[in-house]
């Protein structure tokens, strides 16, 4: 990809992100003003409209990284590595949102910041795995080796995710969640469901916008390296 095209992609990405952020503002308004208050949890429940979609975006991001890792090892196209790495970074950002909104939600309802609830726990470990992914990438100088090793971690992560979920589920059947909390329940009444779905859409757009920007940045950095090495030889 040429520098111009990368910069164009970055611009389009920022537009998409800006649009998504506007959408996010709209979601906030809708959630806070126009969506009914949940009976048992009160206003604190509204953070769910950010918490759940952030979790979804993080999962999407890491799934994309995992799949692109498989493709990279098969096709060895450097671009696949750049997109996978961009997606992993964006996933980290969304995980942080999920992991911070979780405790903020839990505190007013159960009086405790951290609950070892299934989803939070799973996300925590996958988050840590992708922190490791970033640290490993940072420690590798050779870009081809870096791409290969990242792909290995990405694929291992993909295989790990179902096992983490299973582990936490099995653990939970021994120590069940408080009855009140059913975050992902599809049986949300109309208004709330709409807010949730709109938020999901906005977060997905946000993911795509961030991904485009981060990928474009990766391409530009790569081009810079290329020019630098050409100047040396």
């Amino acid at each position: 990809m040429t520098r111009d095209r990368a910069q164009a992609l970055a611009r389009r990405g920022s537009l998409l992100t800006a649009a998504a952020l506007l959408g996010l503002a709209g979601v906030y308004v809708r959630a806070l003003v126009f969506t009914p208050i949940e009976r048992f949890q009160g206003p604190a429940q509204k953070i769910f409209y950010v918490h759940a979609p952030a979790a979804w975006s993080a999962l999407l991001a890491f799934a994309v990284t995992g799949l692109l890792s498989v493709l990279y090892l098969w096709l060895r196209d450097r671009r696949l590595d750049l997109v996978a790495a961009a997606s992993a970074e964006v996933g980290l950002a969304f995980s942080v949102v999920m992991l911070t909104t979780g405790p903020i939600w839990a505190k007013p309802i159960w009086g405790t910041w951290w609950t070892w609830d299934a989803r939070l726990t799973s996300t925590l470990f996958i988050f840590l795995l992708f922190v490791g992914y970033q640290v490993l990438r940072g420690a590798m100088v050779d870009p081809d080796v870096r791409a290969r090793y990242s792909a290995v971690i990405g694929i291992l992560g993909l295989v790990l995710v179902p096992f983490i979920h299973l582990t936490v589920y099995l653990f939970r059947t021994l120590h069940p969640d408080p009855v009140v909390m059913k975050p992902g329940s599809p049986s949300l009444p109309g208004e709330m469901l709409v807010t949730l779905l709109v938020s999901l859409g906005v977060f997905t757009l946000l993911y795509l916008g961030f991904l485009a920007q981060r990928y474009a940045l990766g391409v530009l950095r790569d081009l810079q390296d290329e020019e630098a090495s050409r100047a040396l030889s």
């Binding site: 470990f125 490791g132 490993l136 590798m140 290995v152 694929i155 291992l156 295989v159 021994l174």
Partner: protein
């Protein structure tokens, strides 16, 4: 394929050759470790320390030794193992001996199995020596539970040693291998270690294993998935 990939030497089938090569690599690793014994002694000392520290790191009037025993055992096993795992590939970097192995017609799978086997013997040794000390320190009864405990230990150990072998082949190239290996490996320890602790707790409490059938299935599935994945992905960690 770029390397000297002779599928068979002589008339024996390729798998037999690969197995022999894997055993040669494992044997060589263990012979070298036995000469110096550094990693082995360090791991053992570490295991004893962790067992002892965890025993004292509680209020004995509130928490019984039996309550923390399963967790203590598994924290000991995994952390002691992590000390020894980097050894396998560090010794190949010394004089670039791995290049010597790769110049021979050795399939990557054989290299992986050789390294895995050596690591399993290493970690297994540390575990077998730590176990009597564990029984001693925590005063647990293992008359009927020994065999099941060895079984679950084997299953969980296979899991984290397989993944650890794969990860160490990558992190030895970085400057902070000792830090990077635990960082990358720990998320993968969650399913096998949590499962192993649950099963160990049942065994020590002398409860029927049928209660933990779910965990045992998890361990088995995890073993299959990750030994396969690690074997297949190992090739990607070799320089090319």
């Amino acid at each position: 394929m770029p390397r000297n990939w002779l599928a068979a030497t002589g008339n024996s089938p390729p798998v037999a050759d690969a197995l022999r090569q894997a055993l040669a690599i494992a044997g060589k690793d263990l012979a070298i470790e036995w000469r110096t014994k550094t990693a082995l002694v360090s791991s053992l000392a570490f295991a004893i320390l962790v067992l002892a520290v965890l025993f004292f790191a509680r209020d004995p009037t509130a928490v019984s030794a039996l309550d923390i025993a399963p967790g203590a055992l598994w924290v000991t096993f995994t952390f002691a193992a992590m000390i020894g795992l980097n050894r396998a590939f560090l010794l190949e970097r010394e004089n670039r001996a791995m290049d010597g192995i790769l110049l021979a017609p050795v399939p990557p799978g054989a290299v992986f199995f050789g390294k895995l086997a050596a690591n399993l013997v290493f970690v297994g040794t540390v575990e077998l020596v730590s176990l009597p000390l564990f029984v001693l320190f925590y005063d647990v009864g293992l008359e009927r539970g020994l065999l099941p405990l060895l079984g679950v230990t084997a299953m969980a150990t296979l899991a984290f040693v397989a993944i650890g072998t794969l990860l160490s082949s990558m992190v030895v190239r970085t400057r902070f291998a000792e830090l990077m290996l635990p960082l990358l490996l720990l998320p993968f320890l969650v399913p096998p270690v949590v499962g192993a602790v649950q099963v160990t707790a049942r065994i020590l409490a002398e409860r029927p294993l049928s209660e933990v059938a779910g965990w045992l299935k998890l361990l088995a599935a995890f073993d299959i998935a990750f030994v396969t994945a690690s074997t297949l992905l190992f090739r990607a960690t070799l320089e090319e």
